[in-house]
C-alpha cells in the first residue's frame, strides 16, 4: 500500500470541505477546522494496479482571523488548490496559495479546482482567467460539490501524477 500526504488549499468559503465530503473516509468533524485549523480525511484510489491511500489535509481557508499554517503543508506529495467560480478574488488567492505551496514543498503535482460549477450562470470570471492557468500547464478542473463533478477525477489525476514523480 502506497500512502501519500496531499493538502487542500483555498480561500475562505470556497467549498473545499463540502467538495470532498462525499468522497473521503473521515473520523474527525468540522470543529477541527476552527480549532486546529486542519481536518484530515482519507481517500483511497487505484492507479493502474496500485492502491494509493491519500491522506488529505484539508487546511482551513485563510481569512482575517486565521493565517495559513505553512507547517501543515510540509511533507505533502501533492495538493489541490480550490477557488470559487462565483468570486473572482478567490482565484487570485488560489494563484497566491499555489505560490506559497510551491515555496514550501517544492515542485509537486497539483490540480486547480474551480468550484461551484453547478452555478456557472453566476460565475464572474473573465473568459481568459482560467486560460492563464492552463497556459502555465496547470491541470484545471471545474468542480461542483453539489453534483460531485470531476472530484473523483481530481484525486485520480493527482495520485497518478504523484506516482509518476
Amino acid at each position: 500500500m502506497i500512502q501519500k500526504k496531499i493538502c487542500m488549499l483555498g480561500a475562505f468559503a470556497v467549498g473545499k470541505t463540502s467538495l470532498v465530503q462525499r468522497f473521503v473516509s473521515s473520523i474527525f468533524d468540522e470543529r477541527y477546522h476552527t480549532t486546529v485549523g486542519v481536518k484530515i480525511d482519507r481517500k483511497d484510489v487505484r492507479v493502474g494496479d496500485r492502491d494509493v491511500s491519500l491522506m488529505l489535509w484539508d487546511i482551513h481557508g485563510e481569512d482575517e482571523f486565521q493565517k495559513l499554517r505553512l507547517s501543515y503543508l510540509r511533507g505533502s506529495s501533492g495538493y489541490l488548490v480550490v477557488a470559487d467560480g462565483t468570486r473572482r478574488t478567490t482565484l487570485d488567492r488560489a494563484y497566491a496559495l499555489q505560490g506559497v505551496a510551491e515555496r514550501t514543498v517544492g515542485k509537486a503535482p497539483f490540480v486547480l479546482l474551480v468550484n461551484k460549477a453547478d452555478l456557472k450562470g453566476d460565475w464572474n470570471l473573465e473568459p481568459g482567467d482560467l486560460d492563464e492557468a492552463r497556459s502555465r500547464g496547470w491541470k484545471v478542473l471545474e468542480t461542483s460539490a453539489k453534483t460531485g463533478d470531476h472530484v473523483e477525477e481530481a484525486f485520480l489525476h493527482l495520485a497518478s501524477r504523484m506516482l509518476e514523480g
Partner: protein, 446 residues
C-alpha cells in the same frame, strides 16, 4: 485359382515387388504406420506424453488456466487420500500447523489465567458490584473490566509515524484493543504537533512529548525522520519513556535507507514490528492482602467438598437400599407392594408370611434407623413355605420324605400308619395342598 495356404507367399512376394518398385516411399509408409501405432496405442501414447509432461507443466506454470484446470482434480485427489488414510497429510502439515496451534493455545491459556486470577481476586471486593454493572453496560466480560480497572497501565497502541508528512508507517495494538482509523489518527497527531509548535513559536526540534486525556496518555518520542507515539491507558512509570526513545533510535538506525528514500510505500516498515511490539506491555496492581480471597477460596472449597461428600453418601445409601429390595424380592414369603423415598427416608410396605425369613436379617449394611418398614401378614403359597407349614403342622417322622408336585403332597419313605392316616385326612386342609399321595410310603407299626 491360388490355393489358400499359398496366400502368405503371395503377400510376401507382393511386398517384395513393392519394395523393388517404390523402395524409398516404403520407408515413409512404414514410418506412417509407426506414427499411427504410437497414436493409436494407449500405452505408447502414455509413454510419449509422460516424457514431456513435467516440462509441459513447467512451461505453463504461470498460466492461470493451468491452475484452474488442476484445481478440481487436485482437490478431489487430496480429498480421496485423506478419506482413505489421513496420516500422510497430517504428517505433512503438522510441522506447519503444530507450532501455530501450540502458540495459539498457550496464548489463550495465558490470557484466560490472567483474567481468571484477576476476577477471582476481585470477585468479593466492594467495587465488584459497580464493575459488574459496568461490564453489563459496556458489553465487556467481567474479567476484562476487572483487568482494565486493576491495571496500573497498559500500552494499547504504538504508532510509527513518518515525521514530516504524518504518514503512518506501522501500527501495532495490544490484544482486544479496537483502534479507529490509525492512518488518520497518525496524521492528526502530527497536525497537533505542528499546531502546538506553531502556536508557541517553538523550535522545529521541539515536540509535544505527552498528551493526557482522561485515563489515556499519548507519549511521543521523536527522531530525526520518524516518530513513535504510544497510547497508554492508566499511569505509566517514567522509565517506560526510555523504551519509546529506544524504539525510535532502533528504527532510525535499521531503516535509515528506507526512511531516506521514502516515497509512500510503507511495506518495508513491517520489519519494525518487533521493535514496536516491544513497546506494548502492561502492569497490573497486585493486592497487598490476599487473605480475603484465600478465605473465600477455602470456604468455597469446603462447600464443594461437603456437597460432594453428601452426594456420595446419598449415592451409597441409594445403592444399599436397592440391594435390600432385591434381596427381599428373592426371599420366599416376602412381597414388596410399595417402596420409595419420602422426606429423605426410604420407606417400604409389603406382605410377609409368618414362616418367611425375618426381613431384618436381610438389611446388610443398611442402617435400620434410616428406613420405615410396614409389614402385613399373609399366607404364601410358595412351595418351600407350604412344605415348611406341613412340617410344622404334621411333625413327620424322620424316616418320611416330603415333596410337592404342584399342589400334590407326595410322601415317600417309612412312617407309622396312624401318622399316614392323619396326614391323608388333615394334609389337604393346609394352604397350598389339595391332595396327599402316600402311594410311595411304607407303613410301619410302632
Amino acid at each position: 485359382m491360388m490355393p489358400r495356404d499359398a496366400r502368405p507367399d503371395a503377400d510376401q512376394a507382393l511386398d517384395e515387388l513393392r519394395r523393388i518398385l517404390v523402395g524409398p516411399e516404403l520407408d515413409v509408409a512404414q514410418r506412417v504406420e509407426q506414427v499411427e501405432h504410437r497414436i493409436d496405442d494407449p500405452r505408447t501414447r502414455s509413454e510419449d506424453v509422460s516424457q514431456v509432461l513435467p516440462q509441459a507443466l513447467l512451461a505453463r506454470k504461470d498460466d492461470p488456466a493451468l491452475a484452474h484446470a488442476m484445481e478440481k482434480p487436485v482437490a478431489a485427489a487430496i480429498g480421496k487420500t485423506v478419506r482413505r488414510d489421513p496420516k500422510p497429510l497430517v504428517e505433512a502439515i503438522f510441522p506447519v500447523i503444530g507450532p501455530a496451534i501450540r502458540r495459539s493455545i498457550a496464548h489463550a491459556m495465558r490470557q484466560m489465567v490472567e483474567q481468571f486470577n484477576a476476577a477471582l481476586e476481585n470477585s468479593l471486593s466492594p467495587k465488584s458490584l459497580l464493575w459488574r454493572l459496568e461490564a453489563r453496560r459496556t458489553g465487556r466480560s467481567f474479567a476484562e473490566v476487572v483487568l482494565l480497572k486493576t491495571l496500573v497501565y497498559r500500552v494499547e497502541q504504538v504508532f510509527l509515524i513518518r515525521r514530516e508528512s504524518g504518514i503512518l508507517l506501522r501500527h501495532v495494538t495490544a490484544p482486544d484493543v479496537e483502534a479507529r482509523d490509525a492512518n488518520l489518527v497518525s496524521a492528526m497527531l502530527t497536525a497537533i504537533q505542528d499546531f502546538v509548535r506553531d502556536s508557541f513559536s517553538a523550535g522545529p526540534e521541539d515536540a509535544v512529548e505527552t498528551l493526557q486525556v482522561g485515563e489515556f496518555a499519548v507519549w511521543v518520542a521523536q527522531g530525526r525522520q520518524a516518530v513513535v507515539a504510544a497510547v497508554i491507558r492508566g499511569s505509566p512509570p517514567a522509565e517506560l519513556r526510555k523504551g519509546r526513545q529506544e524504539a525510535v533510535d532502533t528504527v532510525e538506525r535499521d531503516m535509515a535507507t528506507e526512511l531516506g528514500d521514502f516515497d509512500g510505500d510503507t511495506a518495508p516498515f513491517e520489519a519494525c514490528e518487533p521493535a514496536l511490539e516491544a513497546c506494548l506491555g502492561q502492569a497490573t496492581a497486585r493486592k497487598k492482602s490476599s487473605l480475603l480471597p484465600a478465605l473465600v477460596f477455602a470456604l468455597a472449597l469446603a462447600g464443594v467438598l461437603w456437597m460432594g461428600y453428601g452426594f456420595l453418601e446419598g449415592l451409597v445409601a441409594q445403592r444399599r437400599w436397592e440391594a435390600y429390595l432385591e434381596r427381599i424380592e428373592e426371599e420366599p414369603g416376602l412381597v414388596v407392594t410399595a417402596s420409595g423415598k419420602r422426606d429423605g427416608r426410604f420407606f417400604l410396605r409389603g406382605l410377609r408370611d409368618p414362616l418367611a425369613r425375618d426381613p431384618a436379617d436381610l438389611l446388610g449394611d443398611l442402617d435400620a434407623g434410616t428406613i420405615a418398614v410396614n409389614w402385613e401378614l399373609y399366607v404364601a403359597l410358595d412351595p418351600a413355605l407350604v412344605l415348611k407349614r406341613v412340617v410344622q403342622a404334621m411333625e413327620p417322622p424322620s424316616t418320611a420324605r416330603l415333596r410337592l408336585d404342584g399342589t400334590v403332597l407326595i410322601v415317600t419313605g417309612e412312617a407309622p400308619a396312624a401318622w399316614s392316616r392323619r396326614l391323608e385326612r388333615d394334609g389337604p386342609l393346609l394352604p397350598g395342598v389339595t391332595r396327599v399321595d402316600t402311594s410311595g410310603l411304607a407303613e410301619v407299626e410302632r
